[in-house]
């Protein structure tokens, strides 16, 4: 297990390095200078480029960037030289992460609850309503859901604020928009796996020895049914925690997603690069944790890893 963990960390680091390299060169192929705009003369652009080291050969730039990254320095924003990219991340990430974490919790609770209800309920109508609701929630794109929520609750009914993140009330709409899809997925996974778990012998045995229905579902069956959910929620939480481009720009939340969209429209190379690297790092880390958690929880996968290593 320890050796497997080490190897996973090493491959994670390697993919991160390749990600930095690929993104660096991709961003540099974008034609045009980030400083070019109307009314700025050639010589000024050249002078600024010189100051930022953009006139040096590409490979030298690359080496100095990698050197910076190793020291935890992602460079300075091109649009605002007073701001370091790491500062932007330090400012925006807590915002994004708080919304993302709230959405994660909401979707896990809601999804698990509805999933159990659908698996346990004897009524067909309950099952159908939940699965139809899940399909609608999963089929509507996130930004459409966000806009519809905003139109209904803040434009028409004027119940909830439409933008910003000043108070807990401001969290309701973005969190709802963000958790719609994951909640639908979780409830689908829980209900389908729980249904198969409940037909197994150990459930019958637990019932036969006199345990209550509720106890059997929550302590026995749900534990076994939760593995696919963890497998899904891992990558999903990575994307929730790094911020949604759309939901953040619709609800004007000053998070990572909005910074990213802004950096692209401004052609802020270092910011694009830094944010991509940061998001990539979070994704790689969360996937690593998910894999290890699954191996730890499930003896079967654990054994498979051992065999793979041998």
């Amino acid at each position: 297990m320890a050796r497997y963990t080490c190897r996973r960390i090493l491959t994670g680091l390697l993919s991160l390095f390749v990600l930095i390299t690929v993104t660096f060169f991709l961003v540099r192929i974008i034609p045009g200078s980030p400083f070019q705009r109307g009314g700025v003369s050639e010589s000024v652009v050249e002078a600024i480029e010189q100051e930022y080291g953009l006139n040096e050969p590409l490979f030298t730039q690359y080496l100095s960037y990698i050197g910076g990254v190793l020291h935890g320095d992602l460079g300075i924003s091109y649009q605002d030289p007073a701001v370091r990219v790491t500062e932007v991340i330090a400012r925006a990430w807590p915002v994004t992460a708080s919304v993302g974490a709230a959405a994660l919790i909401v979707s896990l609770i809601l999804g698990t609850g509805l999933g159990i209800l659908s698996a346990v309920s004897g009524r067909r109508s309950v099952k159908q309503v939940i699965s139809a609701g899940g399909m609608i929630a999963a089929g509507i794109p996130g930004f459409a859901a966000a806009i519809l929520l905003m139109l209904v609750f803040s434009v028409k009914l004027k119940l909830l604020p439409a933008s910003g993140l000043l108070s807990p009330v401001h969290y309701i709409l973005p969190v709802a928009a963000l958790s719609l899809y994951p909640a639908a997925m979780v409830s689908r996974l829980v209900s389908s796996t729980l249904e198969t778990e409940l037909t197994k012998d150990y459930v019958l045995f637990a019932r036969a020895k006199g345990l209550g229905r509720r106890q059997v579902i929550f302590t026995h069956a749900l534990k076994n049914a939760y593995l696919p959910v963890i497998n899904y929620i891992g990558p999903a939480s990575a994307s929730l925690l790094t911020g949604s481009f759309v939901v953040e720009s619709i609800f004007t939340i000053p998070g990572l997603g909005r910074e990213f969209v802004g950096s692209i429209t401004n052609r802020d190379y270092t910011l694009i690069l830094g944010l991509t690297v940061f998001m990539g790092a979070v994704v790689i880390l969360v996937n690593l944790i998910t894999d290890l958690l699954c191996a730890w929880l499930d003896p079967k996968t654990r054994r498979a890893y051992r065999e793979e290593r041998a």
Partner: protein, 288 residues
């Protein structure tokens, strides 16, 4: 050929009310997307300052936008663009994904490891970056949009096909074929891939709404299809600046988009059920 198509259709779509509903809605949507721009007395791009921001009327069924363009025509024209982009990129992505996944799964070992890590890295970069790069190189348009969606869109399909091939190549019939001395390529094409057809078809259907969604999302953020052409995402984006005043300009294209995606998802889910249970499909969706 026709007979085979009909047979396949029956296998995946027959006898399911959900599939029927999805397909009928989709057919209506395609018909409207083709017919409305042809038949309508209004053009999707001609501006008329006299009739700006009109509400719903007999003359303009969805009203007009802030440039006085008829929204009914425009929305269906945009739906056509969205569908074209979705279907074209789903086909390309499907082909690349099947090829890549099959090679990766069949070759196994180091080749597999390297190919899958490459896929991981390509998918780690936000698709927005690819699309922007391509639009800058090729100019904004449908072509660069489709290509941009194809840079990273095939990876889910590739992973799925790889998993399927990894499983199938350990089957007895695969061993038997190998012992008979059949060439590996033939085993892959004639023995393994046909048995993965269920997974492939289901994923192919789901690729369409995924591509439409990503396109709409990118256009909504202002990267992507540019005027005078418009997709549903562009139309929604244009209505955004005055959504407080004229929400209907946003609601109509949104509803058309949602129903389109729902219909496609219904067809996909029906096919999934037919193809035998859920196939551990954890379709990671970025950009949500």
């Amino acid at each position: 050929m026709l007979k085979r198509i009909r047979q396949q259709w029956k296998t995946y779509m027959g006898g399911s009310r959900m599939a029927a509903a999805g397909c009928i809605v989709l057919a209506v949507w395609i018909l409207l997307a083709v017919m409305v721009p042809l038949v309508s007395p209004w053009s999707y791009s001609a501006q008329d300052a006299q009739i700006r921001n009109q509400g719903v009327s007999l003359l303009h069924w969805f009203g007009t936008d802030r440039f006085g363009r008829d929204l009914f025509t425009r929305v269906w024209y945009g739906a056509g663009i969205s569908l074209t982009v979705g279907i074209a990129s789903a086909l390309i992505n499907g082909a690349i994904g099947v090829l890549y996944g099959a090679v990766s799964g069949f070759a196994g070992r180091h080749m597999d490891l390297i190919l899958m890590r490459i896929a991981d890295i390509i998918s780690a970069i936000p698709s927005m970056l690819y699309v922007i790069l391509l639009t800058l190189v090729m100019g904004a348009g449908i072509g660069s949009m489709i290509l941009g969606l194809c840079v990273a869109g095939w990876i889910g399909m590739a992973r799925m096909v790889r998993g399927e091939i990894l499983k199938l190549k350990e089957m007895e019939y695969a061993y038997a074929a190998r012992m008979e001395g059949i060439r590996p390529l033939r085993i892959l094409l004639r023995h393994l891939l046909p048995n993965a057809a269920g997974t492939i078809i289901v994923n192919l259907i789901f690729l369409v709404p995924q591509a439409i969604f990503t396109e709409a999302f990118l256009s909504f953020l202002g990267v992507g299809i540019e005027a005078p052409a418009a997709s549903l995402g562009t139309i929604i984006q244009e209505a955004r600046s005055q959504m407080m005043l004229y929400p209907q300009q946003m609601v109509f294209p949104l509803l058309v988009l949602c129903v389109m995606l729902l219909a496609l998802n219904m067809a996909g889910t029906a096919a999934e059920q037919k193809a035998g249970g859920r196939m551990e499909t954890v379709r990671g969706r970025e950009d949500r």
